[in-house]
């Protein structure tokens, strides 16, 4: 195996395009090194993107935030302004692994690992986040929702990699939240995850909403029915009931060791109700 550590995106793209064998992109490495060690992947080379300065930065852009693909979760949690704009996204990232994992793991890596249970992905989909992808034909922007294709698979081309993820500007009176269910309090993989992002008007009516579920299908699920129920409502108890029903109905889980399908569908609704209430409170709505 060869270790490559380019200093620019252009060099990285060129290296990826010129490789004949398998080349794996290394960001935080918290998934890739486990795969390397277990022999699940035996690439001819790994391409470390952490020497590319621009990928290590969190920057303001058009009122929103651009998070470099090599930024570890801990740096996101330490950025008070980012946390203030997107508390749900940062919480979702912060749930990935231990303190040690947070020192390395990246949001872009969590997305590209393409686990159906990835914690940051529902939050990013609810946030309407956009991934910037570099490749031989230049740079393209793609909705985060369109990056995972199924367990362990992404829509990225062989010579492409994500350089950053963009979180859009927050209108006034906006809030987001992510909740996951695990059988313990820390350090586990989601049985169900649910993210909600919404905006209220001055009277407390919801003007825009996005709802996403994780771990209840082969990839993240955007629950448009729940978003439509929220939009135009004052998010009262009856609305929360309908959001919960819509999310339970949209969930398409399997039975596995972490939970049965029926149970997961039920929990999807419970989490949707609670996450919506948190997002509403964060947006300044009455509890």
């Amino acid at each position: 195996m060869q270790y490559l550590s380019p200093n620019t995106v252009e060099d990285a793209v060129q290296l990826l395009a010129s490789r004949t064998g398998e080349c794996r992109v290394l960001a935080g490495g918290t998934d890739l090194l486990v795969r390397l060690r277990s022999g699940m992947t035996e690439p001819d080379s790994v391409l470390d993107i952490k020497r590319i300065d621009e990928l290590r930065r969190i920057t303001r852009e058009d009122g929103g935030w651009r998070i470099g693909a090599a930024v570890p979760g801990a740096e996101m949690s330490e950025n008070a302004d980012l946390v203030s704009d997107w508390p749900g996204v940062v919480e979702a990232v912060g749930l990935i692994g231990s303190t040690q994992i947070q020192g390395r793991a990246t949001m872009a890596g969590n997305l590209c690992n393409a686990s159906p249970a990835a914690d940051s992905v529902p939050a990013l989909v609810a946030a309407d986040a956009v991934a910037r992808v570099a490749g031989p034909d230049g740079v393209r922007d793609v909705a985060v929702f369109d990056v995972p294709d199924g367990p362990g698979k992404t829509s990225l081309g062989r010579d492409e990699f994500i350089t950053s993820i963009f979180l859009p500007a927050r209108p006034a009176r906006s809030g987001d939240a992510y909740l996951r269910f695990i059988p313990r309090t820390e350090m586990d993989i989601a049985v169900v995850g649910c993210a909600v992002s919404l905006t209220l008007d001055a009277a407390g009516t919801c003007t825009a909403a996005r709802v996403a579920l994780g771990a209840v299908g082969p990839k993240v699920i955007a629950v448009k029915e729940a978003a439509d129920i929220l939009t135009g409502s004052i998010i009262d108890a009856a609305t929360l009931d309908r959001v919960a029903q819509a999310c339970s109905a949209a969930a398409n889980p399997i039975d596995d060791k972490r939970g049965t399908a029926d149970y997961r569908k039920h929990v999807a609704g419970v989490l949707a109700r609670r996450a919506t209430a948190i997002a509403k409170t964060r947006a300044g709505g009455a509890a």
Partner: protein, 159 residues
């Protein structure tokens, strides 16, 4: 395949080594540099026995390639005591009997030191969450947490 030449700093000392691309930093520390304080428990980032700091940030040495250490500042358990003088955390671990078999201890000490550098006055809950990635199968954790909080208090009073 030619080896990779890495120049880095470990516990303040400029250090050079040759490693293979596949070598984790933990492999390098233990097998090439003879620094066996960092332990390999799981090798998958779950147990924290290989906890070190890289540019001041707590990470698992098993989840990082040796080649990635180029130009970085690495901190390991070997840098914790100053000569024969134990770090207050080490002293408190002895006083509270916060270890039995000892495999998890270096990682927990490195992780606890990193906590107290950021938060000199953690609550018990904060300490437990910070150390959630350090598994101990002997003590049941209570003695570890007591030792960390006691050390924190002493360090605050001493500063």
């Amino acid at each position: 395949m030619s080896k990779i030449h890495v120049t880095t700093t470990i516990n303040g000392d400029p250090t050079e080594y040759l490693c293979e691309a596949e070598d984790t930093l933990l492999d390098v520390l233990r097998d090439r540099l003879g620094m066996t304080g960092s332990k390999e428990g799981c090798g998958t980032g779950d147990c924290g026995a290989c906890s070190i700091t890289v540019d001041g940030r707590l990470v698992c040495a098993c989840l990082m390639l040796g080649a990635e250490a180029e130009g970085r500042e690495i901190g390991t358990i070997e840098g914790m005591a100053k000569g024969d003088t134990l770090h207050p955390l080490q002293q408190k671990f002895i006083e509270h009997a916060a270890l039995q078999c000892g495999i998890c201890t270096p990682g927990i000490l490195v992780a606890a030191k990193s906590l107290l550098e950021r938060n000199p006055d953690p609550t018990e809950e904060e300490a437990r969450y910070w150390l959630a990635g350090n598994l101990c199968r002997c003590t049941g954790y209570d003695k570890i947490i007591r030792a960390v909080l006691d050390a924190a208090q002493d360090m605050r009073e001493a500063s």
